[in-house]
């Protein structure tokens, strides 16, 4: 959520308790700032006195945004559920392990007790830790305005830079995380803060493996908190392949993958690209050869 800087010393704060109220307020106050946990918003303001320059609409008390529900094939979180609550809820044992691992890596316990899953997705200046994980899980969101509701897989709502795009009067309301789809996963992140480090890197993958065959695979990278890299064609090429791959197959997949990331993202130092390629190779040669995990 972008913070507007201006001369208003004392920001007006709305604290609606129902979603309809929140949507109505947002529609009537164009330019208002949605405030969930506020961690990303306040981390940009190092001074004592936060300046917003626009009214705040706090979503913390909106009943519909604080729910956690488990359905047969997915778990649904209200957008204002904190990351700490996600880890502590009863439903967490059904969550994909790659997602729980990623949540544990976000910040510190204090940050997780304040940051919300919806807020995490909606940060536009950086691509935070959970976004690629939710992408590869084919997680879905529900987005609502006063007049309309949209829902679908997260990737539908990302722009070409993989930033979340919301219409001016829209709020993310639900995030749905599929369960039971994948039986192999991997997650790795360099130590350091995605917001503060100048060299941040994260990779994740999920796969469905049936004996030796890959039935489905998704993988993504987060580079410097600025780029989410996902090569769909590489994913598609691996479907139906039998693991372990032969040396020739590995070389072929590496060649294809490397050609696809050449020049993208633009301006990336060579060693960071090498890192991406190294991880892809590791996934091919080691991670995907493992036996299926029982989720």
């Amino acid at each position: 959520m972008n913070a507007a800087h201006g001369n208003n010393r004392l920001s007006l704060v709305f604290t609606p308790e129902h979603l309809g109220e929140a949507l109505s307020l947002y529609a009537r106050n164009p330019g208002a700032i949605l405030y969930a946990g506020g961690t990303a918003l306040l981390s940009k303001q190092s001074g004592r006195l936060p300046i917003f320059g626009a009214p705040l609409i706090s979503l913390k008390r909106v009943e519909e945004l604080g729910t956690i529900r488990r359905y047969e094939n997915f778990i649904e979180f209200g957008a204002a559920v904190t990351l700490g609550e996600i880890l502590r809820c009863r439903e967490s044992r059904f969550l994909p392990p790659v997602f729980k691992t990623a949540v544990r890596e976000v910040g510190t316990p204090a940050v997780r007790n304040t940051a919300t899953i919806g807020g995490h997705l909606a940060v536009t200046e950086r691509r935070l830790l959970l976004l690629p994980v939710l992408l590869i899980l084919d997680a879905a969101v529900e987005i609502r305005s006063q007049t309309a509701t949209r829902s679908g897989e997260i990737k539908r709502f990302l722009d070409e830079k993989n930033g979340f795009v919301l219409h001016p009067d829209e709020i993310i309301t639900k995030i749905r995380i599929p369960t039971g789809r994948f039986n192999l996963w991997g997650f790795s992140a360099l130590p350091g803060s995605v917001i503060r480090s100048q060299d941040f890197f994260m990779t994740c993958f999920v796969a469905r493996k049936n004996r030796f065959l890959i039935e489905k695979i998704n993988f993504a990278f987060n580079i410097d908190g600025r780029h989410i890299l996902r090569i769909k064609q590489s994913e598609d090429r691996l479907i139906g392949k039998k693991f372990p791959l032969s040396a020739a197959e590995i070389r072929e997949e590496m060649r294809f993958f490397t050609s696809r990331i050449d020049g993208e993202p633009a301006g990336l130092p060579l060693y960071k690209k090498d890192r991406i390629v190294n991880y892809f190779r590791l996934m091919l040669t080691q991670e995907l050869t493992k036996s299926e995990l029982i989720e």
Binding site: R9, L10, S11, L12, V13, T15, Y35, G38, T39, L42, S43, Q45, S46, G47, R48, L49, P50, F52, L56, S58, K60, G84, L87, R88, R104, G107, T108, P109, A110, V111, N113, T114, S193, R196
Partner: protein, 167 residues
């Protein structure tokens, strides 16, 4: 804005700007100075307090967000038995963190004690990583934290045993 909340067990009502940071509210309006304001970015842990019994960086919480919630600062936590047990092990190990980072560490340990994390070195290290201060040895912190966790585990096991025996 009128903010009504519980502070160290007592109901409080105060009229203040809604967007004042909680750490400044606690220090300036209530004179609770043991929690310190340092980075104002939620990075250092010095301003850690418990809100609804969970550790948060109070510099990253605005006043309006305290409504209806229960806040425990250092001054309030000092009155608890859990604090006495933690402090006892601090002293026993000659572990004496400075006033800035002390409460961030204590609250981080408290959070860990009440979490579902499995008790091993890596989880504890992870739980303590949000505290920045170089006044003490990090290895000593970890060692003391492990002792605290172990002591709490034994105490809880003992209480569980007593309860079962009574039944």
């Amino acid at each position: 804005m009128i903010i009504r909340f519980k502070l160290n067990g007592e109901e409080k009502i105060i009229d203040i700007p809604a967007t004042k940071r909680a750490i400044d509210l606690l220090r300036e309006n209530f004179g609770l100075l043991k929690n310190k304001a340092s980075c104002y970015q939620g990075a250092c842990g010095n301003c850690s307090v418990l809100i609804d019994d969970r550790i948060v960086s109070s510099c990253s919480v605005l006043a309006f967000d305290l409504r209806g919630r229960s806040v425990v600062t250092a001054e309030g936590f000092m009155k608890t038995e859990e604090y006495q047990r933690i402090n006892h092990l601090f002293q026993k190990n000659q572990y004496d963190p400075c006033d800035f980072c002390r409460w961030g560490k204590i609250f981080a340990i408290h959070e860990f004690l009440h979490s579902e994390e499995r008790v091993d070195g890596s989880a504890l290290t992870h739980a303590l990583k949000g505290n920045q201060c170089n006044c003490t040895s990090p290895t000593l912190l970890l060692s003391v934290a492990e002792q605290i966790v172990e002591a709490e585990r034994k105490m809880n096991a003992g209480r569980q045993h007593e309860r079962s025996a009574r039944k």
